[in-house]
Symmetry: C2
DNA sequence: TACATATGTAAACGGCATTAACATTGCAAC
DNA sequence: GTTGCAATGTTAATGCCGTTTACATATGTA
């Protein structure tokens, strides 16, 4: 009935992990792409399976050949989000010397900038509180791997400053809360309402440098 | 305990939830109460208008005499949440001398504890990104008023330590990001996965004291 | 060619938010 | 008290949604 928009004919992109599809071309990726766009436009709640199907030019039952349910499709978008966040973080970090405060600040700023650029995707990535679902666990693990980047940076910082490396978590965890809190407040509340003209990058820098200075003093004393 | 007394002036004294006739005694409060319970049990998304009606013993169309739509009912729950958060913060703050670091730490710990106790409600309070809706704006204003408590505490701290009061926001905002980030990570991620045995109170204390120490040093130098 | 499998469709189910038309109640003016 | 109106409920309907079941078709391979 509905003529299918076959972008099957031209496939300039390299297929990711799966070989090309049978009927549609690559419905799985098409659905993820549609879902991503919808979520970006209308928020995680505004997205609907049915609308993604319409965009992909496919019947409402088709997605269930590729995803168990709505959550799994949304999870796939979240997963790609973590990939993107990880890449961005590494890229910014590498612009500064290892072990430097600047590299840690850059990591945090990249984190916050990602949230500002893709607020809906960012919300998604941290909105998986289902727990029992295996897929969500895999997304969470991705998040944990992301945190490891910060852990390593902090470790390098401690070695560079001669602060020892036993309490790395006591430094990294507060730093994570700082940038995560900044990111969340930036997209959920409006900083301008309470602090007009706040620059998120500056906020991250002040908070990060402030905390690292405090910790360094304390560790050096003992 | 019960906010928004605006429309309640000429109500008969119906303290109990009674549904003894065609007209429900206080359906508005009953619906808010049902919504709150459902949200606490099943999360903000698990809540449905229809189920709240079932609990209140009322037809699915009844809520629309009291709320414009689902969002407005959910907003009422969020509003009560901010009242509760504000109360908790003041209560903990007052256990410590004004201007002390301990009072600021206590404020943050109350914030995080509220999130841990009522994760679904807390998510709700910071999930209103609709913007154009007037009701959500009122909820946001409540949040801003909540922030003022922290502002005052920081101001007192600055005066007590002789740090001047011009850059209060530069201190209060990072502190907010610390506790908000801690709260969000605590309920959305699992700290144990990345840092087993983390005590949220300790995390808040370390981060807050660390940051305040760093800022104090910096401000004292200049 | 024939078949198993992967992938798609159509139709149906129940649930949801919301609205429109109608019913009942309570209050206030007469 | 009676009457009328506003507030507050109900029933029924609309149109979405997610998901499942049964069926249809394309594809790679034997």
């Amino acid at each position: 009935m509905i003529p299918r928009p076959q972008h099957n004919e031209q496939k300039p992109k390299v297929s990711d992990q799966k070989k090309a599809g049978y009927h549609h071309g690559d419905l799985k990726e098409a659905l993820i792409s549609a879902a991503k766009q919808l979520i970006q436009d209308k928020g995680p709640e505004g997205f609907s399976m049915a609308e993604a199907c319409r965009i992909a030019g496919v019947s409402p039952a088709a997605p269930y050949r590729h995803f168990a349910d709505r959550d799994e499709l949304v999870g796939a978008v979240a997963s790609q989000g973590f990939d993107s966040l990880t890449d961005r973080g590494k890229e910014e970090r590498d612009k500064h010397p290892p072990g430097s405060v600047a590299s840690i600040v850059a990591l945090g700023q990249a984190y916050v900038k990602f949230a500002a650029d893709e607020p809906a995707i960012f919300r998604l990535m941290f909105a998986s509180h289902k727990g029992e679902d295996a897929f969500h666990d895999s997304v969470k693990q991705q998040g944990d791997r992301c945190f490891n980047i910060l852990l390593k940076a902090v470790n390098a910082f401690q070695e560079a400053k001669g602060l020892g490396t036993t309490k790395t978590l006591d430094i990294a965890l507060p730093l994570w809360t700082i940038v995560h809190g900044t990111a969340c407040l930036l997209i959920d509340r409006d900083f301008d309402a309470v602090a007009p003209g706040t620059d998120p990058d500056e906020l991250v820098r002040i908070a990060t440098e402030g905390f690292l200075a405090g910790i360094s003093t304390k560790l050096a004393k003992v």
